[in-house]
């Protein structure tokens, strides 16, 4: 780890000022990803701005019936919060599918959105990586790319976003509240992360000096018909090969509203409004789910080792939608896939 200066922010404005004053400074909250990357010499901030004591830990109901979640709420506190368990169980399930109990205790909601890819070449400073060292090349394109993206890739980068929480947030239509040097703004979670195109070193649309202050959940929670299914090489404590967040509203067997997002397949949580629209008004049957999966996976392309992900994702989408439709969501503790 390189030397760095340390500042403890006393207010959000203080953090913004410190961040804007030093382009190579980084915010730190839980530190679970940043400290690891600093030990690998992948991240080398000149200064850490400790925001962990800022008053951004509340979970509050919004006037329209949604929830506003402070950016510093630990992942575990969010997953086990009664309002999340009751009204947004898809989000609780996705959070509990990720990391370990210790890491979830440490990691913040805002930090979860900021976590960087787990591409092995990004971590290995001996290899070219456009995300770590812009212009150096992508070792994954023709390397070990079994875990890599099949959607939204570019010739510069095929890394995936590793977050489980973000996949559920994308499906739920969450908003991200941001504060910065020029004031506050709010963007959709699906617009927060970006595709790699020719700038894979830029993970998000967060601007210079900006800080996430809260996540907002819309009123619709899909608490009856939802499931988060994560497919990985181990049964626990591993990043997704493919994960699916599915949420339905049903009138009898007919779908009145559908949400669908994929994790582990792209540089951001992957959602297709076209696939969701195709489900509305249809019966909840495997055939219709398969058609939606095809639409969601439109344009998927494989490299040498990750072709299996396309069919795996298709089958996982159908299975997760069946779980959601039958109100038998995937358990994150009892691992048998229903």
């Amino acid at each position: 780890m390189n030397n760095f200066q340390y500042s403890r922010a006393s207010a959000v404005a203080d953090a913004i000022r410190l961040l804007a004053a030093d382009p190579s400074a980084k915010l730190i909250a839980g530190g679970t990803n940043l400290i690891d990357l600093m030990k690998q010499n992948v991240e080398r901030p000149s200064r850490l701005i400790d925001i962990s004591r800022l008053p951004l830990r509340d979970i509050e109901e919004t006037p329209d019936g949604g929830l506003r979640i402070g950016a510093l709420v630990p992942n575990s506190d969010l997953a086990y919060h009664p309002l999340i368990e009751q009204r947004y169980p898809l989000l609780a399930s996705a959070i509990l599918a990720g990391a370990s109990a210790q890491l979830r205790n440490m990691a913040s909601v805002g930090g979860n959105l900021m976590q960087r890819t787990r591409c092995a070449y990004f971590y290995d400073t001996a290899t070219p990586c456009n995300k770590r060292s812009p212009g150096s090349g992508c070792s994954a394109l023709d390397g070990l790319n079994r875990n890599h993206a099949i959607l939204g890739t570019s010739t510069s980068c095929i890394a995936t976003n590793p977050s489980d929480m973000s996949v559920a947030l994308a499906a739920l239509g969450a908003l991200v509240h941001i504060a910065g040097p020029t004031g506050q703004r709010t963007i959709a979670l699906t617009d927060f992360h970006r595709l790699p195109d020719d700038k894979p070193h830029v993970d998000t649309n967060l601007g210079s000096g900006e800080i996430i202050t809260a996540i907002e959940l819309p009123p619709r929670g899909f608490a009856e018909n939802y499931s988060y299914l994560k497919i990985r090489d181990r049964l626990s404590y591993a990043f997704a090969l493919v994960s699916v967040a599915a949420a339905l509203e049903l009138e009898g067997n007919a779908i009145s509203e559908a949400r669908l997002a994929l994790g582990g397949v792209a540089h951001k949580p992957w959602r297709s409004l076209e696939a969701e629209a195709a489900l509305r008004g249809q019966a909840a049957t495997p055939d219709h789910f398969g058609h939606a999966a095809d639409l969601l996976l439109q344009g998927a392309t494989a490299r040498s080792h990750n072709g299996f992900k396309i069919e795996l994702a298709r089958r996982a989408v159908v299975r997760t939608l069946m779980q959601a439709a039958s109100a038998t969501p995937q358990s994150q503790a009892h691992k048998k896939i229903a």
Binding site: Q5, T32, I35, S52, A101, Q102, A333
Partner: protein
């Protein structure tokens, strides 16, 4: 220390309550809680395994919550209460988890054991594990390369009063 040149920060006095004892350490910002415990306080019960948050050997309780001390900067925990494996026994009596690990032979080499026990203490305080599957899932951040998992789960079930 790499190719980035910075002004060297001053050591900062960090106040921690370690196993009920108030301690002040002069630390640099990049000292992890794990290194503070092992190298500055000679509390070597907490183990350094992977040093990247992947194995759980460094698990301690910070203000009662289990965390990976290798990914925790000591300077960020100024004022916190830290409980390590050395602080679990009370008045000469082993913590019920320590006794249960002995009763169930829940280790072979023992290197992961302090982290397993601190993690299990955190799990019991959290109160979300209700059966063996949930214990396994909520202990998945603690690796045991000897493979003592069945006995670890049995020991935790005993300490939880399930057997």
């Amino acid at each position: 220390m790499g190719d980035v040149t910075h002004e060297i920060p001053e050591r900062t006095p960090i106040h921690l309550i370690i196993n009920g004892v108030s301690r002040t350490l002069d630390l640099l910002p990049w000292t992890t809680l794990l290194d503070a415990l092992r190298d500055h306080l000679a509390l070597t019960g907490t183990k350094k395994g992977c040093d990247h948050g992947q194995c759980g050997a460094c698990t301690v309780l910070v203000d009662g919550r289990r965390v990976n001390s290798c990914l925790t900067l000591a300077i960020m925990k100024d004022g916190a209460e830290i409980t390590t494996i050395e602080g679990l026994a009370k008045n000469g009596a082993l913590h019920p988890l320590q006794q249960a690990f002995i009763d169930h032979d829940a280790f072979q080499c023992g290197y992961c054991t302090p982290g397993q026990i601190c993690s299990a203490a955190g799990l019991m305080a959290e109160g979300h594990a209700r059966d063996a599957d949930e214990i396994r899932e909520l202990m998945s951040g603690n690796l045991c390369r000897c493979g003592a998992y069945p006995n670890i789960v049995a020991a935790i079930e005993q300490a939880m009063g399930r057997s």
